[in-house]
């Protein structure tokens, strides 16, 4: 098998890697905010439950969660296993990453000085307006580096989808490596991930710069 055939096959799988990546971000970024707000809820029961859920999601391997979401319903309830593996994979990723994002959001929101809320109150802002117009923009600016960290990790974590035989790039790379008894596919996979992350880095640096409006 020539190098180009290998790259071609793996590029095909890379589309599926991207599908996990973008869908996970699409769902987990907003879901994380909802979880963060529930986590900070004044109702003790709500914040307590959310706290336990976050603790479970952060305290168990993502690999295990992917297997649980894919095969759990079958073993526990006798439900059918999803034919389209992208669905359980994205559900598992989105829930897991939402837990991490939630804690990052919470860190950002709780780092805001209480004086800002007081000043907004004096100026007649409602609680909702204060959050949307004053707090949130500053929070986003402040948490950007941590978010980038998670996104870069997500790119690499997509390879865990192999566990449920979702044919993403790394799974295909492993198959080629096996059938050709060659190490080259792993190098190709490394290059794919690195280039993807270099692009993510570049985009996130631009976003951070754009948001640097007070400096």
């Amino acid at each position: 098998m020539s190098l180009w055939t290998m790259i071609g096959l793996m590029a095909g799988g890379f589309g599926k890697t991207c599908a996990i990546f973008f869908l996970t971000l699409l769902f987990s970024l907003p879901l994380g905010m909802v979880v963060a707000l529930l986590r900070m809820s004044k109702v003790k029961v709500v914040s307590g439950i959310v706290r336990v859920i976050i603790s479970i999601l952060r305290g168990t391997p993502l690999l295990l969660q992917i297997l649980a979401v894919t095969y759990g319903p079958h073993y526990l309830l006798g439900a059918d296993v999803s034919k389209n593996k992208l669905i359980p994979v994205v559900i598992a990723f989105a829930i897991n990453y939402a837990a991490y994002f939630a804690e990052i959001y919470r860190g950002g929101i709780e780092s805001m000085a209480i004086g800002q809320y007081e000043a907004a109150d004096v100026l007649g802002y409602s609680k909702f307006q204060t959050f949307i117009h004053i707090i949130l923009p500053q929070v986003i600016k402040r948490i950007m580096p941590s978010i980038t960290n998670e996104i870069v990790t997500l790119v690499k974590d997509t390879s865990l989808a192999f566990a449920v035989s979702y044919q993403e790039m790394f799974t295909i790379g492993k198959q080629i490596a096996n059938s050709q008894t060659s190490f080259i596919p792993f190098l190709v996979a490394g290059v794919f991930y690195y280039v993807f992350n270099a692009i993510v880095d570049f985009v996130m640096a631009r976003v951070e710069k754009k948001m640097n409006y007070y400096h």
Binding site: Y71, H74, Y75, A79, D80, V81, S82, K83, F162, A163, V164, S165, Q167, T171, K174, Q175, A177, N178, S179, T181, F183
Partner: protein, 281 residues
């Protein structure tokens, strides 16, 4: 005062961690170096590392006592006992098994492994075949599927890196083209779960594995169709001909003194294997 106590505790913990990790490193390099010897120093070999797929009953699997067992494991253990060497078991990742063998993580692959032409071409040393195998399709009994022709437009699962997987892209390519998709799982358990959960309609699998599964689970049948004959053997690194001969010699002795037959008849799970064991013909 409190701070001081805490800092003492922390530094104590750190010291313990460092010592433990150093010890672990030492242990690893010590253990790794001895069996890593290649063809040349086989004469002094004291440990033989057998590479198995731990999810491949009845050839190699985790027994009820938490130790690896299976037909291949028991034969290998008996052969090692004969040679007076210690057996160590290494769980390979089946789709990376040859890379792991080359990396000297194990000394052989011996786990219901099909002898493939590609292995011979790549220069691996292969033992004489010991088992006649066929590839079969396992389906749900109530699915109404009677032959491979009924699988047109359906999904079929296969274990990654197995001979069935290779067959679908070589001899069975035309059949595979009629399937809706081929789902490649990294273990047979997952293939069977996919079948049980209706995500696929059939699993292409080695006959003994299918039989072992049917014995434990109801509602499945094997299609009466032989999709490819093949033989199991043991795979060694290209420079390990001497080791291969040594192990093979020990197995031949086991066959001669009846131990081989005894092991084959010792467990219910092995009963289905006997008609296909080449050395017992």
């Amino acid at each position: 005062m409190k701070k001081k106590i805490i800092s003492i505790i922390i530094s104590g913990l750190l010291a313990v961690t460092v010592v433990l990790s150093l010890a672990a490193c030492g242990g690893n390099s010590g253990g790794g170096a001895a069996p890593a010897g290649s063809g040349a120093d086989n004469a002094e070999k004291t440990t033989f590392i057998m590479g198995i797929d731990p999810e491949y009953p009845p050839f190699s699997y985790l027994g009820d006592d938490g130790k690896y067992t299976g037909f291949d494991v028991e034969i290998c253990q008996a052969a090692c006992d004969k040679l007076g060497i210690e057996l160590e078991i290494f769980e390979v990742n089946w789709d990376n098994k040859l890379i792991q063998l080359d990396a000297k993580e194990c000394d052989c692959i011996w786990s219901g492994m099909t002898i493939l032409d590609s292995m011979k071409e790549a220069g691996y040393v292969l033992s004489d075949p010991y088992f006649d195998n066929t590839q079969v399709l396992l389906v749900k009994a109530d699915s109404g599927i009677k032959s491979s022709a009924d699988l047109a437009g359906k999904d079929v699962a296969v274990q990654l890196g197995t001979s069935g997987d290779q067959l679908l892209s070589s001899d069975l390519e035309e059949l595979a083209a009629t399937f809706n998709s081929v789902v490649r799982c990294d273990s047979f358990l997952k293939c069977f779960t996919e079948l049980d959960g209706n995500a696929v309609e059939a699993v292409l699998v080695d006959e003994p594995v299918a039989k072992a599964y049917i014995n434990e689970h109801e509602g499945f049948v094997i299609l009466d169709e032989d999709l490819g004959g093949e033989q199991y053997g043991i795979c060694f690194r290209s420079d390990d001909q001497a080791l291969c001969d040594q192990i093979q010699g020990a197995v031949a002795e086991l066959v001669a003194d009846g131990t081989y037959k005894q092991i084959a008849e010792s467990k219910e799970e092995y009963a289905d294997l006997i008609p296909n064991l080449i050395f017992l013909q």
